[in-house]
């Protein structure tokens, strides 16, 4: 604090010497809603001039002002605007004002909210104010709330929003029961690529709260979104720093109650920091040079370190350059103990004992530069780099009781099956964005952005080993040994996969305030995206009988000497190099595909304030859409091949807001949108996971010559109708009650179900005529207890969603691929009928300098369909469960924060079951994740 004062003083001196004809006004803004803590980022300006600034992290500001009597205006979104009149500024002198306390209010105009560049949308109140003023249905959660609830990333953030849930153990987010394929993710309003081949959206876990200003979900459509919009758009706004200078550092340590005390293992050859250094080698050289055994991952205590710093420079009278950099690294050790079963109509694999060790890391770097020319023009540049890694070692059937339906054991075909899967995934993501806001005239504003994204998603050297008679590894008899399963060369395999995505996208919006009551927006959003995919796999075959199988030393078998020199093992590859043998030789990529997608749309919307109460926002979007896929895959007759589709979409939309009074709104929204298939859904390439196979289906694009169809429509997309109705009551001071009802109808919906193709492969089908979703949402944020100063000390937040989903199912579908259903309708995949998110927070002060917040956060969702069963297969059901986290934050003095977190306190069973006949079920997987205990130390310089 002293240092900062000094800094300001130096700053003042410098400025003072340059602009000697000017005087200075300085002061500090305080937040009445936060125990009169400093209020950063408030706008301070001299009335009738362009002279202004925002307050820094400590609420301080200092303005160079021309001599004379002036009026100072202090404002902050969601807060009362204060005017201080008759300040006498004398050249070379400083007027030091008393601390200025700002109170929450809803008194500001819509325009002010729209100037996002100059407001800091981190606090609950300011976001609620924005929500109240917004022309669309939108819910946001800001950095303040995230920090309070100790949410570590964007994925944790969205699950605090009503109607949103997350699938345990994966990065699937569901909005109103609609999953990944029905969502879009943007970063500062520009599309983000997915980090994963099997996903449309990026893993929100990758966005740490350090770089988030706020996360919002728009559940209703506005025409500036792409036509492909179903359940919602998740937007992450990156931190935007404009203060005078700060530097924070944070350290955290965490342990998982399952993992602690275990001999934690990870892949060999991967770095502790989530990097892998063998990409430049031919995979065959990697296979021969390196073994398969995992290595120790050290003591499983996780830590994270992060730092952020910012500084602004005034350039000339009006301009200001603000720089911000944030860097963080964190890791995580989780040990899953449980059981897994692969069951369709009969047991295929059964592992009563499974240990999965997962070591993950996340490195994030965000740099941003904002250049504000003056109050009319601003340009910012954001550069984001993320490295995320997951290193998972799974041992299946550890007690010798594993079962495999196609066991070839000569000893016991009913037990002794064991598999080891050692897998490392690394995603490198680069996002670069240039954004601009311009006030061209008093009535015309321009808002634009250009983004260029790259994603490198690698799965290098996944090792999968299959062993029979594993019980021989557990007994003391030195004469008996397990054997390797050798049904297929690829029962024991090394797998390499690489995906590269590039995307260029842009947005442009011009708003014209025609009259006081009418505004028109015209704009463009577009993107062009490409993907390259390839994989290769080496299997092992013809093991020499002299090899002794020791599951703890498999490197003695799977090594280059045994292959090349001693000829005890052979390698196998799918696509030999022409003229070469597939045995003991490198090969060509097994599957490749490339995809291109273009979407370019123009939109127009208008905001008609018919009177004080009624706002009508009609809109229209016209979009050109095309996508193309070229593939060369194994095991397909019509190969290589390519598919292309081009469409034009015309989408009308209407949003209505009716203000019942100053604090209550009624909203309605009607729109038509589209859902288009993704590359992976169309490309008939089959991904072979450990226990499941997933492939694409070109029938999603409509008919082709030479194929006969039953119940396959000649369409390439789904039409969606959306209806929303919402009542919201802003009770002020960060409190809200809202009720919403929604309905959607999706025509020709797509589901992933098992195809009739003799291998149990799951493929994408348009499974019925339509799907419908109806639901109710309730949200409440209320202060319960106040202290003597009327400040809230106990606050609760609560949101609940009830949904009814239904889709009809064709009895039979036949085309390029076929499937069938024994029932005529079912619920939607991923839709829990009931969702609940709740939190309770209590503020307390100990002594003079310790301010503590106690937070209890709970989530619950009810049973939902994990995978729709086709034919007579029952559905796979993810069992609902409740999760409970406890967070205790302590602010000690001005600089230090010491926090304690206990997450997953209930440590529930995470279960997936398959429904079978007679209302019975088979437990497919059952895990406990363990409780995570953490200690965090933050220091603000």
């Amino acid at each position: 604090m002293i240092k900062n004062r000094l800094l300001i003083l130096l700053f003042i001196l410098t400025c003072g010497s340059v602009f000697s004809q000017k005087g200075i006004i300085s002061g500090q803004t305080l937040d009445a809603e936060m125990n009169s803590e400093p209020l950063p980022f408030a706008n301070v300006f001299i009335k009738g001039t362009t002279t202004g600034a925002t307050t820094d992290f400590d609420g301080n500001f200092s303005l160079n002002v021309d001599e004379g009597i002036v009026t100072l205006v202090i404002s902050f979104v969601g807060y009362q605007t204060i005017e201080i009149e008759n300040i006498n500024v004398v050249a070379g002198e400083t007027v030091e004002l008393n601390p200025i306390i700002l109170k929450a209010d809803e008194g500001e105009s819509l325009d002010e909210v729209a100037v996002t560049a100059s407001t800091k949308k981190e606090s609950v109140q300011s976001l609620l104010t924005e929500q109240k003023k917004a022309v669309e249905l939108k819910t946001a959660i800001g950095a303040d709330e995230l920090s309070e609830k100790s949410v570590s990333n964007a994925s944790g953030a969205v699950t605090k929003i009503s109607g949103v849930s997350k699938e345990e153990g994966s990065n699937n987010v569901y909005v109103r029961g609609l999953g990944d394929r029905y969502l879009n993710t943007t970063f500062n309003g520009l599309t983000l690529p997915s980090n994963s081949i099997d996903k449309k959206n990026i893993n929100l876990d990758l966005f740490t709260t350090d770089i988030i200003e706020n996360v919002s979900i728009s559940k209703s459509y506005s025409p500036h979104f792409f036509a492909d919009f179903s359940a919602g758009n998740v937007n992450i706004n990156s931190k935007e720093y404009t203060g005078n200078g700060f530097f924070d550092i944070s350290l955290k340590s965490e342990m998982n109650t399952n993992a602690i005390g275990s001999d934690f293992v990870k892949s060999e050859g991967t770095g502790r920091f989530g990097f892998y250094n063998r990409y430049d080698n031919n995979p065959f050289a990697v296979v021969l040079s390196h073994g398969v055994d995992p290595v120790s991952a050290g003591t499983p205590i996780a830590y994270s370190i992060s730092g952020a710093a910012g500084k602004s420079f005034n350039i000339g009278d009006d301009s200001r350059l603000s720089l911000f950099i944030s860097a963080s690294f964190d890791n995580n050790y989780t040990l899953y103990n449980g059981s897994e079963i692969d069951y369709t109509n009969d047991y295929n694999k059964r592992f009563p004992n499974v240990d999965r060790y997962k070591y993950s890391t996340n490195t994030t770097l965000l740099g941003s530069a904002i250049y504000r020319f003056n109050s009319e023009h601003k340009i910012s540049f954001n550069s984001l780099f993320i490295n995320s890694s997951g290193d998972e070692v799974g041992f299946y059937g550890t007690q010798g009781d594993g079962f495999y339906r196609d066991s070839r054991s000569f000893v016991d075909t009913d037990r002794g099956f064991y598999q080891m899967n050692v897998q490392f995934n690394q995603d490198l993501i680069f996002v670069n964005q240039l954004l601009g806001n311009h006030t061209l005239t008093e009535k015309i504003k321009l808002d634009w952005g250009i983004g260029y994204n790259n994603v490198y998603s690698h799965e290098p050297d996944r090792k999968r080993i299959s062993i029979e008679d594993y019980f021989y590894a557990l007994d003391d008899d030195l004469n008996t040994h397990p054997v390797l399963l050798t049904n297929n060369s690829f029962d024991n395999q090394r797998y390499f996969q690489k995906v590269i995505d590039d995307e260029l996208n842009g947005r442009l919006k011009i708003s014209y305030q025609v009259t006081e009551h009418t505004k028109i927006n015209i704009g463009y959003t577009g993107r062009t995206k490409s993907r390259e995919f390839e994989n290769i796999r080496y299997g092992y075959k013809n093991f020499d009988d002299s090899l002794i199988v020791d599951p703890r030393n498999l490197n003695s078998i799977f090594n280059g000497n045994n292959v090349l020199i001693d000829s005890l093992v052979q390698t196998d590859v799918f696509r030999p190099i022409p003229g070469m043998s597939p045995t003991n030789r490198p090969g060509l990529p097994e599957n490749t595909y490339t995809g291109n997608m273009d979407a370019h749309g123009g939109f127009v919307s208008a905001e008609f304030n018919l009177n004080d109460k009624l706002l009508l926002v009609p809109g229209f979007r016209a979009e050109y859409f095309s996508q193309e896929i070229n593939y060369d895959v194994i095991n397909l007759v019509n190969n290589p091949s390519s598919l292309k589709v081009t469409e034009e979409f015309y989408l009308p939309t209407l949003n209505v807001r009716y203000a019942l009074n100053d604090s209550q709104n009624l909203r309605a929204s009607v729109s038509k949108t589209i859902s288009t298939p993704e590359f992976k859904e169309m490309a008939p390439y089959v991904y072979e996971g450990v226990t499941e196979r997933v492939g694409g289906n070109p029938d999603l694009l409509g008919w082709q010559d030479g194929v006969s169809y039953i119940n396959v429509k000649d369409v390439s997309y789904s039409d969606i109708l959306n209806f929303d109705l919402k009542y919201e009551w802003f009770m002020g001071n960060g409190q809200i009650v809202s009720f919403a009802g929604f309905a959607k109808q999706i025509k020709n919906p797509v589901n992933l179900v098992v195809a009739n193709d003799a291998t149990g492969t799951q493929r994408y089908f348009r499974t019925g005529d339509k799907a419908s979703v109806y639901g109710l949402e309730l949200e409440l944020r209320k202060h319960i207890l106040f202290n003597a100063d009327e400040q809230a000390i106990l606050t609760t937040g609560f949101n609940a969603t009830y949904m009814h989903t239904e889709q009809d199912l064709f009895s039979t579908i036949s085309g390029t691929y076929s499937t069938s259903f024994a029932r005529s309708k079912d619920q939607l995949e991923g839709a829990s009928p009931f969702l609940l998110n709740a939190d309770l927070s209590y503020n307390a002060t100990f002594g003079k300098s310790i301010k503590s917040t106690f937070n209890v956060v709970a989530n619950y969702y009810s049973d939902r369909i994990y995978a729709l069963g086709s034919g007579q297969l029952g559905n796979k059901i993810e069992k609902g469960f409740a999760a409970l986290d406890f967070i205790w934050k302590n602010r000690i003095g001005d600089n230090i924060e010491l926090n304690f977190t206990a997450k997953n306190l209930l440590n529930p069973d995470l279960q997936i079951i398959r429904e079978i006949q007679n209302n019975d079920e088979i437990l497919l997987s059952n895990y406990k994740r363990g409780i995570n205990l953490g200690l965090q130390f933050n220091y603000k310089f």
Partner: protein, 398 residues
């Protein structure tokens, strides 16, 4: 501020240090490849060597004066006929995968060999091995129980071609005196080609005197269908020698199975494909009839099972000779989706005149349904198998 900036710089520097990479240490692998694969079989220079692959929309008749190499998927489409003269040897590129001959729904193969002039499909490698190439695949329009019925189809494990339908009397042509050697090449990471694959093949198809010799996967696999096979030989199939699923209901007369050092079951029969379900309406299960069967294993002390029956399959076996297995019959199932045991109780599954020689356990019942050995096996010791020495003379190899 200087201290702050310095700290910031140190922090950034540390961050970069932290981003240490993983190990490499990958050796340079230099391979001197002197081998020549895919060499021809020493054909005389006067004949023309023709590569065969691709999707044929017209008839293809092979000329006895030429030699042929299958160098990729050879697919005969609906309405076309592949005709192969007696005595011809067709070689396949030893590429390991993606080399096979498929007769699609509505197409026919006419391969009419004789005992003295059999037609041979084999590898073109100089020292051939099991799995050098795919195999022979026939797809027809006879019923399968993985779909509800009518003209619905499923798609094949190999090449994703449609099969199945409502014509039990479908005709895919003639296979007579045919030997498939060194097949079983991989199709993907989970499945391999068989020697002969019959997908929904109808009973108007003639299949007589067929041998699978040295295959990496199954010898003969039946995915539903009604096709009958007379005089079947499987020698050294590394997976199951005879495998059925998806509601196969044909008759196999005279089958001779010999296990080599690598092998799985002699017969593995499934009532339906458990990955998909028995979707037939009305429901039916695989129910082949097998007459005159010999299965020779490697000895009872080497473990393994001669015949495994599961997933609700029915079977009627008459006159079988089983030698050299730990288990003769191993039956798996449950009382709901996989009613294998129910077939015995309903007397739809039975084995009459069976001889077990060097077999430790004649019947292992894991069906969840209790019945006695005598409920299933009648005439224990009365089986003498098939007279392979007689009908297998001249055209087979062992």
């Amino acid at each position: 501020m200087k201290t702050t900036l310095l700290t910031l710089l140190i922090f950034i520097a540390t961050s970069f240090l932290l981003i240490s990479c993983g190990d490499d240490d990958t050796a340079d692998i230099i391979i001197y490849d002197n081998s020549v694969v895919n060499n021809g079989g020493g054909d005389t220079p006067t004949s023309q060597q023709i590569n065969l692959s691709g999707t044929y929309v017209d008839d293809l008749t092979l000329d006895a004066n030429n030699s042929y190499i299958v160098n990729g998927p050879l697919v005969m489409t609906e309405g076309t006929t592949l005709t192969i003269p007696a005595g011809m040897t067709i070689r396949a590129l030893a590429a390991g995968s993606d080399v096979y001959v498929a007769i699609a729904q509505g197409a026919k193969i006419i391969a009419n060999g004789t005992a003295d002039m059999p037609i041979v499909f084999t590898s073109n490698a100089s020292s051939p091995q099991a799995g050098d190439w795919g195999g022979l695949i026939l797809l027809g329009k006879a019923p399968i129980n993985s779909v509800t019925g009518g003209n619905e189809t499923a798609t094949s494990e190999i090449g994703s071609l449609p099969y199945g339908g409502n014509n039990p009397n479908d005709d895919s042509g003639v296979l007579r005196y045919i030997r498939v050697e060194y097949s079983g090449g991989k199709a993907d990471g989970q499945s391999e080609n068989n020697g002969f694959s019959f997908y929904g093949v109808g009973d108007a198809t003639v299949v007589q005197y067929v041998e699978m010799f040295e295959g990496l996967d199954d010898g003969f696999e039946f995915f539903g269908g009604t096709v009958n096979v007379d005089f079947l030989v499987a020698v050294n199939a590394q997976d199951d020698s005879i495998d059925w699923t998806e509601g196969y209901i044909g008759t196999i007369t005279n089958a001779h199975v010999i296990h080599g050092p690598e092998h799985d079951k002699g017969i593995e029969g499934d009532g339906y494909n458990t990955d998909i379900g028995n979707n037939s309406n009305p429901v039916f299960w695989s129910h082949p009839t097998i007459e005159n069967l010999t299965i020779i294993g490697l000895g009872s002390d080497t473990g393994n099972e001669a015949i495994r029956l599961r997933a609700g399959t029915r079977v009627t076996i008459t006159n079988a000779y089983i030698e050299g297995f730990n288990e003769g019959f191993d039956m798996d199932g449950d009382d709901t989706n996989n009613p294998t045991g129910e077939g015995v109780l309903l007397d739809e599954t039975n084995a009459v005149n069976i001889s077990f020689v060097d077999v430790n356990i004649k019947l292992k019942n894991d069906t969840g349904v209790s019945f006695t050995e005598i409920d299933f096996i009648q005439g224990d010791g009365n089986g003498n198998g098939t007279d392979f020495a007689f009908w297998g003379a001249r055209w087979t190899v062992e």
